[in-house]
């Protein structure tokens, strides 16, 4: 299958003016301006197939927003080739723009003082959507998102969750082939987050839209995406299935242990095999971190020496793992 998004050796370097404090520095910066070169994205390569739902993750300032903007044409790459749906985003051709869409989590494209329906109508004109088709699409999405009542309320009177529903509908009116979502569930409560995720999944199922998503919420990524691109310090550190990420990021696994009798503190530490550490303890429930390669051996030892009533082996929570990556700055 030909890819719909293709990124080859793409880099983005910003030139940030450097200036120190003080009058002399200010004057010299006029004649000899000094720039600091910030490499926001360093030669990354990946490709995405039609209909895929991919997450772009990484700490703030890692380069994910920069990458997203380069894919939409909002930013020009410093070097490399990008192709989205057969177009070069940087050229910003109208044909290209009619086939993509963006949703920005903390910004709104809705006209503020009037009902969402009116904004939809303006967008319908801009994207040249025939009236009948526009109405059908609005009806379909309104039904999926259960937002019938808010269609005629001024946007300024809507809650954040209701507004995000409108943003999503607005971005899909012209049935873009590629949808870019930047932190779409930011600040929303759980039920609305779930609603939006279900909607996005359903939409992808019905229309095979390719979706590229950035989010800080693991729940978004786990629910929606089966593929993850991890960007850190401008480098693409990982490109693959979500499952593989945690085994790559860490060499540990989690064992949850429930013992049938209360042990005293002395005895607890005594029975701990090599390579296991207690990270949490609650009465007779224990959470241990163990070396991945020794999981089987340690499990056998625990079962042999302790009155175990329940035991399970898990991957570490993705969030915790990724947090540690962000902090340590390396794989």
């Amino acid at each position: 299958m030909a890819s719909i998004i293709s990124v080859k050796d793409v880099s983005k370097t910003y030139r940030v003016p450097q200036r120190e404090a003080g009058l002399r520095a200010a004057l010299s910066s006029l004649t000899k301006p000094q720039f600091l070169e910030v490499e926001a994205v360093k030669s990354i390569t990946f490709s995405i197939n039609p209909g895929e739902m991919v997450a772009l993750i990484g700490p703030n300032g890692a380069g994910k927003t920069t990458t997203l903007k380069m894919l939409t044409g909002l930013l020009q790459p410093t070097s490399g080739q990008i192709s989205v749906n057969g177009y070069i985003p940087g050229k910003r051709g109208n044909d290209f723009l009619s086939q993509i869409s963006i949703v920005l989590g903390n910004k709104s494209q809705m006209l503020w003082d009037i009902p969402p329906l009116d904004t939809f109508q303006v967008l319908g004109e801009i994207y040249r959507i025939p009236k009948e088709i526009l109405r059908q699409r609005i009806d379909e999405m309104v039904a999926l998102l259960d937002m019938f009542e808010i269609l005629r309320k001024p946007v300024r009177n809507l809650s954040l969750g209701e507004r995000m529903k409108c943003e999503l509908v607005a971005s899909l009116l012209h049935q873009p082939k590629v949808l870019f979502l930047d932190e779409p569930t930011l600040g929303l409560d759980i039920s609305v987050q779930n609603r939006l995720r279900s909607f996005i999944l359903e939409y992808n199922l019905r229309y095979q839209a390719t979706i590229l998503l950035t989010s800080h919420y693991m729940a978004d990524i786990e629910r929606l995406c089966n593929r993850v691109l991890l960007i850190h310090h401008g480098d693409l550190l990982y490109d693959g299935a979500l499952k593989g990420l945690s085994s790559l990021l860490t060499n540990s696994k989690i064992i949850r242990l429930t013992l049938s009798e209360q042990q005293s503190e002395q005895q607890s530490t005594a029975w701990l095999p090599e390579g296991a550490e207690i990270i949490e303890r609650n009465h007779h429930n224990f959470t241990l971190r163990v070396n991945r390669s020794r999981t089987a051996a340690i499990t056998a030892e625990l079962l042999k020496h302790l009155p175990v009533s329940d035991l399970s082996v898990e991957e570490p929570a993705l969030e915790a793992v990724i947090d540690r990556v962000y902090q340590d700055g390396a794989l």
Binding site: G73, N94, F96, I102, K107, D113, D118, Q121
Partner: protein, 263 residues
């Protein structure tokens, strides 16, 4: 055709937005009337003391004021509000909402020029036209069709010039966002209320060659009173065209800069 339908759609949305704030209508009415009264009072008080302002008669001076009001109204109809969204107080360029505008499959210059309409300016336009007819009625010489024709051409040129100036100044926001350059223009534009011939030389030069505000209001008034001929009128049109081209180029350069620098 598409672009006309788009304009209609923008007009409709803007009207709906304005109607959401009905209380403002009366305040705006009051402001418009007060501005008119003060502007006319100034000229009346002036000509109560003199007969002639550096060669400008009462009627001609009121004529300049009328052109000022008319062009101000045309600006306030769509050029001003649309560009204000880009670079005014709630700067789109600054707060990041500009990305939404850039992502639309529409020419970006068209979008930032025509997207917001304030129909109340039609009232200001009517007031300006009223003042114009008052000025004409006070004119010592009768006006011919040629006067009106040249007036129409130079008025169109003046409108294009103010659009070009505002577009160009707005483009500067891509290099220094946050600096309310259109407010500086508004302050300077006050000088256009009066014929630029009355100002001291250094102001006259500033207003003709550096920021050609003088061409916007004085020339049309001169055309109407027959002080200039078709040569000058066509020149002003040519100048307007050149400024427009230059401003559009500057604007697109600004957009390119936004694309390479935004973060």
């Amino acid at each position: 055709m598409y672009y006309l339908k788009l304009i209609r759609s923008f007009m409709r949305a803007s009207l709906q937005q304005d109607l959401a704030y009905r209380a403002n209508f009366w305040i705006n009415l009051l402001h418009s009337l007060l501005n008119l009264v003060v502007a006319l009072a100034a000229i009346l008080i002036l000509f109560n003391q003199i007969n002639d302002l550096n060669g400008w008669t009462f009627s001609a001076t009121v004529g300049v004021m009328a052109v000022y009001l008319i062009i101000g109204a045309l600006r306030g109809l769509f050029i001003g509000p649309s560009l204000e969204t880009l670079v005014g107080m709630g700067q789109e360029v600054w707060n990041g909402n500009f990305d939404f505008s850039l992502i639309r499959p529409v020419n970006i210059q068209f979008l930032v020029t025509f997207r917001i309409w304030r129909f109340f300016s039609l009232f200001d336009l009517a007031l300006g036209v009223g003042v114009l007819f008052y000025a004409v009625s006070q004119s010592p010489d009768p006006l011919t069709w040629l006067n009106w024709f040249l007036f129409a051409i130079t008025l169109a040129a003046g409108t294009l010039i103010i659009y070009a100036l505002l577009l160009g100044l707005s483009a500067l926001a891509f290099w220094s966002p946050g600096f309310l350059i259109t407010w500086v223009f508004d302050a300077l534009f006050q000088l256009a209320r009066y014929p630029i011939g009355i100002y001291p030389p250094f102001i006259r030069i500033l207003l003709t060659w550096i920021i050609p505000i003088g061409l916007i209001t004085t020339i049309p008034a001169q055309a109407l009173s027959g002080q200039i001929g078709s040569g000058m009128a066509l020149t002003s049109l040519a100048v307007a065209g050149l400024l427009l081209i230059f401003a559009s180029l500057l604007f697109h350069r600004g957009i390119r800069r936004y694309h390479s620098a935004s973060s």
